[in-house]
């Protein structure tokens, strides 16, 4: 298996360039593509092929629409109270919150305020699903796939979640930042992220105050964003946190409050001075540990998991030599022998979003289909865009795969090839727990709120586990408002106002793709599907099982005789091929 190319960063030559290597480049620098795209890349020189990915700024992207906002936000929602109790308390004390007044008299005086709180929580969550879908559409449609691949990488690196940020606008702004700076200079990117509102909220910048430093950002900055464990002390974390005191956001911009900033001397990584946040970033960026860490993490994401310490140092040298510029670093990587070595090719386990996007790109689709729902599908496989599980982002590689997720990946293929149009419901119209449905039905049937709440509480406590919010609702009862009713009203208004998502099955014809590819027999049909959907060879046992299956479905080995009823059998065969372990690899 060894080809002597491992750990060799020198460039491959023109004679090394093959369709298989072109496919590898397309898989890793992008999200894969159909056979004709592989052929186009294979016809170029390796340098030109790599340039077609890394020099993406020259490529037109006017086909990619900007995100279309629903009409859900208005400035009265800022600042948004941290919790529902904080919202109703504010209204009780001041007479209003989030632009909504408490009723002067009567029962449930604070109900409109509670309704308003839940409206925004629900609306932002639903709109975030639309942002995720919009981004996935870009990944499928873009002619600059490396731009989106890197944005996806940085999203996992500087991982922030809407579940805590509670504002899709901040999350969208952060993704735009990754798209804008993701292939530029890491110094620029890091400095921008440290000022990014989603990050400021996510790591509690608002709580990092002079005299009461909150170490959340300082710690993750060193551990996860730059150097990694072992290159700093707890003291460095605490001192760095002091340098960022007073930094927070005013809605969508950085706001530095001098009164809350600690202007005293700090000692960080051996340097002492009255540092502010940027100066601490500069100290961290000057550490070789940072270049090594970032270079290795990029390499693991794009190339392979297994890196020797010596090779990590060489990757760090490479990123240092480009002074943190990502594009020249990646140009060298994508042309290198190591990138095309047997240690790298066909050893990468695709992440959920990558798997889904690459499937659509290999079919030549221009966007994600509305059916299956993109976010639900990727969540089922273990990844929800804009909602990483923790600030450490997603563990890559083998961590994606469990027996359950492997089955789920095959099920995604089936849902894409043969969507269950009968059972399909639009998840953007509300993932309502069943007790909410029961409550809504009772309210609509004319029951009073108190009675309807009591009955609904007993309806299905199991649903409560789906979100902490739901359980919080169950436990809180307050005479000035009804939380369950507020939740219902919040859902209703959010779903009324959030823009619809087109729900349509993917439009493609495997019959056309297979026949136009020149296949004449069932064996050639299977070969054609394998070449389209897999990046590694299929074992002969599964290959033969697929041929036998297709032949049984068609009643012949001759595709020409079966061409009028070929589509469904081909889709079932594709499902079989995409249910294999090999489908996960690139």
């Amino acid at each position: 298996m060894t080809d002597g190319w491992e750990q060799d960063l020198s460039s491959i030559g023109p004679s090394d360039w093959t369709p298989e290597r072109a496919r590898h480049l397309l898989d890793r620098a992008g999200f894969g593509g159909p056979p004709e795209q592989i052929a186009r890349l294979a016809a170029m020189s390796p340098e030109a092929a790599v340039a077609s990915f890394v020099d993406f700024k020259a490529i037109d992207d006017s086909n990619l629409p900007a995100f279309e906002h629903s009409n859900i936000y208005d400035p009265s929602l800022t600042p948004f109270p941290p919790t529902r109790p904080a919202a109703t308390r504010l209204a009780a004390e001041t007479g209003a919150a989030m632009g909504v007044a408490a009723k002067p008299a009567g029962p449930r005086r604070l109900q409109p305020v509670a309704d308003r709180f839940f409206f925004w929580i629900r609306a932002s969550m639903l709109e975030t699903r639309r942002v995720g879908n919009w981004w996935a559409d870009r990944m499928v449609a873009t002619n600059r796939p490396l731009q989106e691949k890197l944005a996806l990488f940085w999203h996992g690196h500087f991982a922030c979640s809407e579940e805590k940020v509670r504002d899709y606008r901040k999350m969208l702004a952060q993704i735009l930042l990754f798209q804008q700076h993701g292939a530029g200079n890491f110094r620029t990117l890091l400095s921008a992220v440290a000022r990014d509102p989603a990050m400021l909220v996510y790591l509690d910048a608002g709580q990092n105050l002079k005299g009461h430093p909150n170490e959340n950002f300082g710690r993750e900055l060193m551990e996860l964003f730059t150097m990694g464990v072992g290159h700093y002390t707890e003291q460095d974390v605490r001192e760095a946190a002091r340098a960022f005191t007073g930094w927070s956001n005013k809605d969508l911009t950085l706001h530095i409050d001098d009164a809350q900033h600690d202007f005293g001397d700090k000692t960080v990584l051996g340097h002492t001075g009255p540092f502010d946040g940027q100066e601490v970033l500069d100290i961290i960026l000057a550490q070789p540990a940072t270049t090594n860490f970032i270079a290795a993490k990029l390499y693991r994401f794009l190339v392979r998991d297994d890196l020797s310490p010596q090779f990590q140092d060489r990757l760090g040298d490479l990123l240092r030599s480009s002074n943190y510029e990502i594009t020249p670093f990646l140009r060298t990587v994508f042309l290198s022998r190591d990138f095309y070595s047997s240690a790298s090719v066909g050893t990468h386990i695709k992440g959920p979003v990558e798997l889904i996007v690459s499937t659509y790109r290999r079919l030549g689709l221009g966007a994600t289909p509305g059916m299956p729902d993109f976010n639900s599908a990727s969540t089922e496989l273990g990844q929800t865009l804009l909602n990483p599980p923790t600030v450490a982002g997603w563990s890559q590689g083998r961590a994606w795969i469990t027996p359950g997720s492997l089955l789920a990946r095959g099920n995604f293929a089936r849902a894409m090839l043969l969507p269950d149009v009968i059972a399909f419901t639009d998840p953007n119209l509300g993932p309502y727990p069943s007790q909410l449905r029961a409550f809504s039905a009772r309210i609509r049937a004319g029951e009073d709120i108190a009675t309807a709440s009591k009955i609904a509480d007993g309806a299905d406590a199991a649903d409560a586990q789906r979100s902490t919010m739901a359980t919080a609702n169950l436990l809180s009862a307050h005479e000035e408002f009804n939380t369950r009713y507020a939740s219902l009203k919040g859902w209703e208004e959010a779903v009324r106002r959030v823009r619809p998502t087109l729900r349509r099955a993917a439009q493609f014809s495997l019959t056309t793709l297979v026949l136009e590819g020149g296949a004449r027999s069932t064996t050639e049909a299977v070969d054609s599907l394998v070449a389209r959907f897999l990046s590694v060879p299929l074992d002969s046992e599964t290959h033969d099982a697929a041929v036998t299956f297709l032949e049984a479905e068609l009643g012949t080995t001759d595709l020409d005789r079966a061409k009028t009823y070929l589509e469904e059998p081909l889709r079932l065969t594709a499902h079989l091929i995409m249910s294999t372990p090999q489908y996960q690899l690139a």
Binding site: M1, P82, P85, D204, Q207, H212, N214, E215, N216, R219, E223, L224, E234, S342, G346, T347, H348, I349, E380, G382, P389, T390, A392, S395, G397, R398, A399, I401, T402, P403, G404, S405, L406, L407, A408, G410, N411, R414, A415, A464, Q465, T468, T471, A472, L474, P537, D539, E541, T542, A545, A546, F549, A552, L572, H575, L576, S579, P581, Q582, L585
Partner: protein, 410 residues
């Protein structure tokens, strides 16, 4: 009755030897009900015992879990978050649990809950991910690729028998990663299913067959595919068929699924369950949230053990609860607590000798605001691995020799 007294006495003496704290009424014998039950069921061999590990992710605030309500230092450090004695469920004259933790109180008073105090390790990490990795590998600073439960499984069954480890999570934990075993990882059993039409089934069934792999990633995928193929139907059917009158609480984070598999006769000896999403990371406004988390945890665990007793497996199953570290002694300026060091771990089950183990760290003699750990977490692991699971040589499992605690009869 003689048996009850005997167990109580042995328990008390050993616990005293182990460095008992809380000399008051904390130690009691088994309750009458449990003794009858224990006497009624035939003791089973160590080789069929089951270990259930519960992870509380996010660093549980141990001081507000097992509350030292007679210690003024506690209230001085926590003027706002300190829980007043009248709002607590008292375990004895020194410690109490939060009011929502009726389940833990019952277990303790029945003598089925061991509280191990001050659990941690030297040179603690304050990072969730690092400290959790230390706990999960059982080997701080080693970067070990396998988890301590994975190594335990490898030691107990080097042949890598089917479904020896079950991990009820959406993502496989490092704790269960093994050399010889492919842990069965699933979260929602009804999703643990290959969707296929009747005609496809024969062709799909051969996907789980072993084949020659081209590289390590492919080997891994083939192994997992084989595991999925073998387990798919069993897990789904076991969970769907399971009926229990026991209420597992508002947040069922996985133990009811463990119960279903145990009841269905799974050969699994190690189960791993997590309260996920860093839920216990209570930096801000922690009081209500932490109270809820503990209520759900306590309800869920107590229900599981009651359910095990109900199906006659109480003597075969023990459960261990941990969190990657505790919180700082003093509350912060945001009505929450920041990352700290040592905290309590728990061992519960029918054959557990309940009571206090180890020494509660001082709340005044602090290391930069943090408690000094008094019990290495690997001693808790050694208790489960050696005494409970019968692992003859735990040195390779725990990367060293760690003395078990006398929580179980030897």
């Amino acid at each position: 009755m003689a048996k009850r007294i005997l167990l109580g006495e042995i328990g008390r003496r050993d616990v005293l030897r182990a460095g008992l704290i809380g000399l008051g009424g904390g130690i009691t014998g088994f309750g009458a009900g449990s003794v009858n039950e224990a006497a009624a069921s035939t003791p089973t061999g160590v080789g069929s015992r089951v270990l259930v590990v519960v992870e509380l992710s996010g660093a549980n605030d141990g001081l507000n879990t097992i509350v030292p309500y007679t210690d003024d230092a506690y209230y001085r450090a926590r003027p706002k978050l300190g829980l007043r004695p009248e709002k607590l469920r008292k375990l004895d004259d020194q410690f109490a649990v939060q009011s929502g933790m009726a389940g833990f109180e019952r277990l303790f008073k029945d003598g089925k809950l061991a509280i191990v105090h001050g659990v941690g390790y030297d040179n603690p990490s304050f990072s969730h991910f690092t400290s959790m990795a230390y706990w999960q590998t059982g080997a701080p600073n080693s970067g070990d690729p396998y988890g301590w439960l994975g190594r335990l499984a490898d030691a107990l069954d080097p042949s890598g028998g089917d479904n020896f480890i079950v991990d009820v999570e959406t993502r496989q934990s490092l704790a269960v990663r093994a050399r010889a075993h492919v842990p069965l990882t699933f979260f929602q059993p009804d999703h643990f299913k290959r969707d296929a039409t009747y005609e496809e089934k024969a062709a799909l069934d051969q996907i789980g067959n072993r084949r020659t792999a081209r590289n390590g990633a492919e080997t891994f995928l083939f192994d997992v595919a084989a595991s999925a193929q073998r387990a798919e139907t069993h897990v789904r059917e076991a969970c769907a068929a399971y009926r229990t009158p026991v209420d597992y609480g508002l947040v069922r984070f996985g133990l009811e699924r463990v119960a279903a598999l145990i009841a269905a006769g799974f050969p699994t000896r190690i189960y791993y369950v997590s309260y996920p999403h860093n839920a216990f990371d209570t930096h801000v406004n922690q009081a209500d949230n932490h109270a809820r988390l503990l209520t759900y945890t306590s309800d869920h665990i107590a229900a599981f053990l009651a359910d095990m007793a109900r199906i006659g497996r109480g003597r075969d199953v023990s459960l261990m609860v941990f969190s990657e570290f505790g919180r700082r002694v003093a509350e912060n300026a945001n009505l929450g607590t920041d990352h700290g060091t040592a905290g309590p771990s728990f061992i519960a089950g029918q054959l557990v000798r309940g009571g206090h183990y180890g020494t509660m760290p001082s709340l005044t003699d602090l290391d930069d605001g943090n408690m000094r750990f008094t019990m290495d977490f690997r001693r808790v692991y050694a208790t489960m691995a050696a005494t409970w699971m019968g692992c003859q040589d735990t040195a390779p499992v725990l990367k060293g020799d760690w003395a078990p605690l006398p929580v179980f009869e030897g």
